[in-house]
């Protein structure tokens, strides 16, 4: 194993980690606002990508439009998830919403399987033929694009949260729901809009995952869910920059262990490392809400 190989592996991992980061941002935002886990989030993202794929098979569209449709579709699915799993369920039973979202995850996955027979479907990509090379060192153009996109998404989200009325309402509900309600903020509308916004972000993430892999498959949902959760907790619950850094880190470590120990042991070490990390730093990287659940 030469040094350059390890550098290459890690740089690939970091770039691929951007797709984990995008999913992590969504998880962390929902958690930040509602203090609830939405396990159907990754399914929402992949579901959105599937809708856009279905539309692109009917009418030929440029890749950018397909991604946009994915974001819109996932926003709608996100809203449906809110209606089915959160709207009618009492808020003091966190386990109930947890299980309801598991049901939703299975449901979305099965709808996809039903429509495609579970077969992998080709997904359009942009810059996928661009490959930057510097001697032995090389970087994938499409992943660099996703990298830039996820930072853009983060900036837009931060702008939304800190510079708009919607953002003020969202943060108010996140911090003190009762007080926010007394100020005339509708908790339900705020929560619903959080789901739509994170859903749209997820749709974009789903499209990016589809584009970077080149195919969509229901096989993606479960690993993306697990990776998204991991990224969320490593980054620190509710921290958007944390989620991005954690996403890149997870990608890097994954590829490092892959290069050093091979694929069969890769995830074993990643999981062990994660377990130790959480034990010694239970609040995540960005220690904001260590003892809140």
């Amino acid at each position: 194993m030469e040094f350059i190989d390890i550098v290459l592996s890690i740089s690939d991992g970091v770039l691929f980690g951007t797709t984990y980061a995008l999913i992590g941002i969504g998880f962390t935002m929902i958690f930040g606002v509602m203090h609830k886990i939405n396990l159907a989030y990754a399914a929402t993202s992949i579901g959105g990508a599937y809708v856009s794929w279905a539309i692109s098979t009917l009418v030929p569209l440029p890749a950018i439009l397909v991604f946009l449709i994915s974001a819109i579709a996932a926003g709608v699915i996100g809203w449906l998830v809110y209606l089915c799993c959160f709207r009618l369920v009492p808020l003091d039973t966190p386990l109930t919403t947890l299980l309801a979202t598991v049901g939703m995850l299975i449901f979305i996955d099965e709808v996809v399987v039903h429509e495609t027979d579970g077969m992998p479907q080709p997904y359009p990509a942009i810059f996928d033929d661009v490959f930057f090379e510097f001697g032995e060192f090389g970087l994938r153009g499409d992943l660099l694009f996703i990298f830039v996109l996820s930072f853009a998404a983060m900036l837009v989200l931060l702008y939304l949260l800190y510079r708009t009325r919607l953002g003020i309402a969202t943060r108010a509900v996140a911090q003190q729901p009762m007080a926010a309600q007394l100020c005339g903020i509708s908790i339900e509308r705020t929560n619903a809009s959080t789901f739509v916004i994170t859903g749209m972000l997820g749709g974009l993430a789903g499209a990016m995952i589809g584009a970077s892999v080149g195919v969509l498959s229901p096989l993606l949902t479960l690993p993306v869910t697990v990776k998204g959760l991991i990224v969320t907790v490593i980054g620190g619950l509710g921290s958007i920059p944390g989620a991005i850094i954690a996403g890149l880190m997870v990608g890097a470590f994954e590829n490092l262990f892959l290069a050093l120990r091979g694929v069969t042991e890769r995830d074993m070490y990643v999981m062990l490392l994660l377990f130790l990390f959480l034990t010694f730093r239970p609040g995540g990287l960005f220690h904001r809400s260590a003892l809140r659940d």
Partner: protein, 303 residues
């Protein structure tokens, strides 16, 4: 008939798995590690019966004890974290156990074939039941005797001081601590008991399916482990059994006449169930109604 007995076996094993998560859930902890403990019990019990030629009962007890001890060891660090952090920490541990079996090779020659776990190929030919002439009915009876013993033990525990302590921790940690309950001891005990029960379930699982592989003990199984008690309700142990019957008996087997719609309905009906019965199938109201029905009947008999 054979089919119904087989389904009874399956329901029994899954209820044991669900009960293992029930104990931990009572303390307010959501654990995704149960599939890992289930797997430990399965692999160890199966190795003892097929490789060492043990009787199934001691083999299962050893498997379950190892699972319990591992759960105890994991319990200490894992319980530093709560909520979503714990979900992910236990997921990590459960996956670690699964991947351990994925990399685990230990085979010995038995006759002309090699037996024992073989990494990703799985562990085949765990034929203790058929080789010793146990019929489907025998196995079902065996499973249900164990299940009822576990349910009675948990029922008794629930009504004793231990149950009150577990629930106190689950309801409000701060309040529990302020009345002198040792949080760590309580949570770690719940974890260890949960691990032991899951290990028993795994031991049976390995023998009634005759073939196990790492993929059986994935996050999906762990999710079902917590889904049963949540869906059933945490009021008492019967909820978990009802939930398993609902999922395995109704959603999986009962809806077969729906053809392709069965798959779609599976997830959808879980969502519906949680909306209609947010506190579980057997919630406090149901317990109260059933309890009243029984007490009035008794009252009439007395009169």
């Amino acid at each position: 008939m054979d089919f119904l007995l087989g389904l009874t076996q399956l329901i029994g094993v899954h209820t044991i798995l669900g009960l293992s998560a029930y104990v931990v859930l009572l303390t307010g902890q959501v654990t995704i590690a149960q599939a890992g403990f289930f797997g430990i019990g399965a692999y160890i019990a199966a190795m003892l019966t097929t490789l060492a030629g043990w009787h199934i009962v001691p083999a299962m007890l050893v498997g379950a004890s190892v699972a319990g001890v591992v759960a105890c060891i994991v319990g200490f660090p894992a319980l530093r974290v709560k909520g979503l952090m714990l979900v992910v920490a236990t997921t990590a541990f459960g996956e670690f156990v699964r991947l351990f079996w994925f990399n685990f090779d230990y085979q010995i020659a038995k006759g002309e074939i090699m037996v024992g776990p073989e990494g990703g190929e799985g562990f085949k030919q765990i034929r203790y039941f058929p080789e010793n002439g146990w019929t489907t009915g025998d196995v079902a009876l065996f499973i249900w005797v164990i299940l009822i013993a576990i349910m009675l033990a948990l029922w008794w525990m629930d009504r004793s001081r231990a149950g009150a302590v577990l629930r106190a921790v689950g309801e409000d940690e701060l309040a529990a601590q302020s009345v002198g309950i040792n949080l760590t001891a309580t949570k770690v005990t719940a974890f260890a008991v949960g691990g032991f029960i899951a290990g028993i379930g795994g031991g049976i699982y390995a023998h009634y399916t005759t073939h196990i592989e790492h993929a059986n003990f994935s996050v999906l199984l762990a999710t079902f482990a917590i889904a049963y008690p949540i869906l059933g309700g945490l009021t008492n142990v019967t909820g978990t059994l009802f939930a398993v019957v609902f999922i395995q008996g109704i959603l999986v087997e009962g809806l077969r006449f729906m053809g392709d719609w069965r798959n779609l309905l599976f997830g959808a009906l879980i969502v519906v169930a949680m909306n209609v019965r947010p506190r579980g199938l057997i919630d406090e109201r149901v317990v109260m109604i059933v309890g009243r029905a029984f007490s009035t009947r008794k009252g009439r008999a007395d009169a």
